[in-house]
Symmetry: C2
Subunit: 325 residues, 2 copies
């Protein structure tokens, strides 16, 4: 039964809907906060035993059908951006748009702690483990802004002011993202998710011209290894050759499912309702898609102040939905 | 020729495409910054002679086909939220979710300076003047967050935690928005735009259940006065009975135009390219829609560091497009 999540992604028969929660390992869990009282965010990411422990927490607490590695999309860029810190979003000492600042690297040497965390987590996990990375355009967005800001237009501005530089930056990030994800697969990740929260902010033409080719290459190479690849973006995700797309709550789920396997998309804010309301809205969302090819999830990361009981109500409601053969 | 913008919205014959720029009066213009060196943002909004002067600046500088009142969507809430300041986004002394905090008010008494600014601007304007307000859900989003933040989920959380309170808050804001816009029309606004940047963050069900009914009532009442109503949202705007929709750059413009009159949608980041590139991308966007029912604009507000020459290149390129009869 442990591979329910993977069977759903492969469109093989499933007896019920699988469910996990984006950012399921994190601030809403008291056992996570207890660890964070002792170590800072970056130390946690860099310490395999702790990262593995936090990765396992939501599986024990919520009984989700997949675990996701505890880390941050900016972690593979730590070697390239000395002085980057997390508070809790990434803060860079200065914006980075120079492609040469992003030197090619050996992830096993530079961020091997991620592979080690995956190996440690797998020792005790009873459900599949998802590795992840940021999409090149989303990484470039944070790099060009110098971190998490209120507005995110610096990379789009670069793209129009100096298309060559923007493309070179994306190509460097593509190389890093691919190596980094391949390392995770080799370490034992059963699936990988590419987070592209900011890719949806590109116009169709800019996405097609700048972001899509690299994403297609990344997805194709990863799928060659046999692992399913999930691609998450805001708004209706474009086709980049992923196994399944993750969609946010503004997207019509049935329309997205009609295009292929899909994951999502309850508004994380729904989890501020009481447990009965959460269960009702989860069932209303998921029941019409009760067959293989669908993974229940939120439409974005779980919010830090979410009550644990709501997360549990969400998971239980999703897992109560039987699938037709 | 002065009514080109209005004819395009009414789908009457136009000889060329009209153009204006969201946030065209503001930080990217040196003549605006010169005024702001002398007065703060709120004083500027509250002083009719200055607000009118700033409203006129982009018409003189760029030759745009419409002016938009210089103000902020939070201005009609100043009487309800003592201590609100702007830096430059709104900062509230505390989050507001109590509907009773939003007392009904007489806009002529409480924010009559807005009507006076419209009257003053109209004395010298040679193009139509657009009044504006925030949509109730967008106002509620800022109120519930306590201002402009990095994440905007407090109102959506309220909506699921206490639907009755959320609905009551929206109804108070609907009443204020409607009175405020009617005051602007009576003062001489030729058209009004409703800004709903955060309405697009609601799921289809939540938008239909909470936001749409009030927006429909506002649009219907305003259209009874004879003025065109523009409705701007992020993503593909839902139908709320507006005369035209404003769309951002992630929306397929032809698909939006097929549903009715449309305004937009160049990525504001394009204006960081050189003048030739700006002109080329503007023409590529607008030329396929060279007929009535389309107003050229950016897909969101012009960015503060935009070169004035780029804004001018955008306007000139749009105005060079002749329309078929």
């Amino acid at each position: 039964m442990g591979d329910l999540f993977l069977r759903a992604l492969r469109q093989e028969p499933v007896e019920r809907l699988p469910v996990w929660i984006m950012r399921q390992a994190g601030r809403y869990l008291p056992e996570y906060r207890a660890i964070r009282e002792k170590v800072d965010f970056l130390t946690l990411c860099r310490t395999p035993s702790l990262a593995a422990e936090v990765t396992l927490q939501p599986v024990a607490r919520l009984g989700v059908d997949a675990a996701i590695l505890f880390s941050d999309i900016m972690v593979p860029l730590l070697p390239a951006v000395p002085g980057m810190r997390f508070d809790p979003g990434p803060k860079l000492p200065h914006p980075v748009t120079d492609p040469d600042a992003i030197h090619p690297f050996d992830p096993l040497v530079e961020v091997g702690f991620v592979a080690e965390a995956i190996r440690l987590a797998r020792r005790t996990l009873t459900v599949p483990l998802i590795g992840f990375a940021g999409a090149p355009a989303t990484l470039a967005t944070y790099l060009a802004e110098g971190g998490a800001k209120k507005s995110f237009h610096a990379f789009r501005a670069l793209l129009h002011a100096d298309a060559g530089r923007a493309r070179a930056l994306l190509e460097r990030l593509e190389a890093i993202t691919l190596r980094y994800l391949l390392m995770q697969v080799e370490a034992g990740a059963h699936a990988v998710q590419i987070f592209d929260s900011w890719g949806g902010e590109l116009s169709d033409a800019d996405f097609a011209g700048f972001a899509a080719p690299g994403l297609r290459r990344i997805c194709a190479r990863l799928r060659d290894t046999g692992v399913p690849v999930l691609y998450f973006a805001r708004g209706m995700p474009r086709d980049v050759g992923a196994t399944a797309v993750g969609v946010d709550w503004t997207v019509d789920l049935a329309a997205a499912r009609a295009r292929g396997p899909v994951q999502g998309n309850l508004d994380p804010a729904v989890l501020f309702g009481d447990a009965a309301t959460v269960a009702e809205k989860t069932r209303a969302m998921a029941a019409p898609l009760a067959r293989t090819g669908y993974v229940v999830n939120l439409g974005h990361g779980i919010l830090p102040l979410t009550p644990v009981e709501s997360a549990l109500a969400f998971v239980k409601a999703a897992q109560s939905i039987r699938c037709s053969p």
